[in-house]
Symmetry: C2
Subunit: 288 residues, 2 copies
Amino acid sequence: MNVAAPERTLVNGAEAAGVSVLERGLHYGDGLFETLGCVAGRPRFLSLHLQRLARGCARLKLPAPDLAVIGRELAALAAGADRSVLKLIVTRGPAEARGYAPSFTEQPTRITLRYAWPQPVEEPQRARVRIGAIALAENPLLAGIKHLNRLEQVLARAEWSDPAIAEALLFSRSGTLVSGTMSNVFLVHGDTLMTPQLGLCGVEGVMRQVVLQVAAASMIRTEERVLGRVDLAAAEEIFLTNALMGIRSVGQLEGRTLGPAPVTRRLQTALAPLLAAGDLGPVPAGAA
Amino acid sequence: MNVAAPERTLVNGAEAAGVSVLERGLHYGDGLFETLGCVAGRPRFLSLHLQRLARGCARLKLPAPDLAVIGRELAALAAGADRSVLKLIVTRGPAEARGYAPSFTEQPTRITLRYAWPQPVEEPQRARVRIGAIALAENPLLAGIKHLNRLEQVLARAEWSDPAIAEALLFSRSGTLVSGTMSNVFLVHGDTLMTPQLGLCGVEGVMRQVVLQVAAASMIRTEERVLGRVDLAAAEEIFLTNALMGIRSVGQLEGRTLGPAPVTRRLQTALAPLLAAGDLGPVPAGAA
């Protein structure tokens, strides 16, 4: 269930409801975003989100963001509610000239939105998942980062309207498994936890990174590798991750019902305290 | 030379400088745009631009736009200046919920910007052109239409800053010639005019379409086909097209200097009256 309107909206740190019609974020999707789950009044894994934002800015040749300022703003917004969702958008800013060429003197725009927590706090049912029809385009320059060019995700999400279906798994043009529309995907094969390499498309989710760390700490072997339809079909367990849901077990994939998921359960148990505590991770200097 | 600020900005028909922070055009690039050259106070090839917009809306599952309203607005804006550039953006509108899924009840946003004509009216020098390093991602669902996911073009245009270089030619991930960053490309081989098929990536430019028609009317054989590096190297003439420049002959491609361009010249001559007259093309019902 989505919640319609944000509770708070800030533009460059001030309450505001609008941005310039010249926004390069609007004209070209020239920017990045982060979605953070907040519990106990704190944004979870704040430092990991900020690090990914900084990587994305470097990739798009945006000015290095002031992570201390952004971190303080996110923390302050999160403090206003027990649970909430923060969405941060950072763009190159209003265009200084017509056309694609950045002037590299633009003033970036920072948009921060706080939404009510959308999901019931209790653990959801195992997810029913479909296979998306869209094949994701591949470009290593845009892979991994959370940029604003998201038409593929919009079109993938528009493929179905049945609320009983939680997510669609997407493959790339070259036939490799990539992710869900709004989540990363993990497969359990025997004693190994596998997740797609994301060098050509997809987003390197913060929760994906946390789960890989939790698995390693739990002595579960992990592999980031190229995965295909055969690997998906052979998986004994499948689960999805994102910043809000943490780990969500897949119970049904198209016609197939998946069996018990002991590895998924074990990882959920190991992850739970981090999710509940609003763990910040290591905080960049000045960001606390 | 770009001109910094638009002379007029309309949002849904009213003077306005801003759009909602909830714009799906901003969050996801969930929309389309058109750039129109206007001369003698009229937008050139208005009906072709409106037709492409309508095709794009259908592809993105946006509501069918009211072409009569949009056409009247563009014509009225163009009438305020002898020469100008209009940029029209149509988005799905402000998000009604968090997340990628459209509600399909959004109210689309129409943004119309008028800029001063950026180029000297006299004919420019033949263009110096480079080969871009970026390889364009391929997705038939997004190919051809002029959507707002333009990070590849931004990154391609950011590869060089030398103002003597007018454009970069771009290849796809699978190694086929696609277009420039902001133009379509044509090659002359013997008695044939060739331009890349755009079924997997690239934008089907309005001027590309006009030039194909002008060539056919001039009894020049035309082919839309898959073209590679070999075809580019073998081309006797190369030219670029877009809504503002019309046809621009390429004089230098990387180290290579191109010779006389009689076919290009012939097409420029045939096109000139259409460009100068502000030809509207066939106008959709009610749009005049």
